[in-house]
Amino acid sequence: MKQNFWWLAGALCGVAVVLILFLIKRSVQGQNCEYDERQTAARGKAYQYAFFTTAILELIYVCLEAAGISFADPSMGPLLGVLCGVAVFAVTAIFKDAYVSLRESTRSAILLPLFVLGVNLLIGIPKLLDGAAIVDGRLTFEAINLIIAALFAVVLAAIVIHWFRRKHAERDRGDE
């Protein structure tokens, strides 16, 4: 009970810190996320793919649990579907040129995923090494940092691949 209280308090503190940082950034820089009409439509499509990915993965997880095949704790399994949905949204938006808003640069869009990836790897790798992330062949909630790191690694890879493809295409075209 006492452990649950501290866990919940820690989670709430984390959310509060992120919220405060977001509000400070917004008050300093103004509304930064402005997308044009094509980007808005593309992001809508990306949300659609993400929604169906999450729904299908949650269904698969429930079916596997019902069949007695368990690869993750109940606190971790459903989160995997949600995080995969987030990855599908981000990658789709990146490849449709709808991830970076009008006022952002690709460079600034790379910094946040890079930071989150680094922090989560720092926290997650020790948990993997001391065996807390996988117990009896099942993912525990302790693996969340590694899963988030993997998600942001995918996002970063997509940004870099798309950036190189775009540069290559522009060079071939000799600019407009």
Binding site: D36, E37, R38, Q39, D97, L102, D175, E176
Partner: protein, 67 residues
């Protein structure tokens, strides 16, 4: 279908895709997608582009029947 009329009107004004995009308030990729025929802009964006390039909607966006 590629919009070559838009591309030539933009070139006639000596504007890059990036410059036109900034003038009409969209991303460069959106202008590129319109010129390549990958995206159909809304009437609002069509009008904004026409105003910047000094052309009419017919001149830039009207497609004659293929027959």
């Amino acid at each position: 279908m590629k919009n070559l009329r838009l591309k030539s009107a933009r070139a006639a004004k000596d504007l890059s895709q990036e410059a036109l995009a900034q003038l009409v308030g969209v991303s460069r990729q959106t202008i590129n997608a319109i010129e390549k025929g990958d995206y159909n802009p809304t009437i609002r964006l069509c009008i904004a582009i026409c105003r910047v390039l000094g052309k009419t909607l017919d001149e830039l966006f009207w497609e004659e029947d293929a027959e």
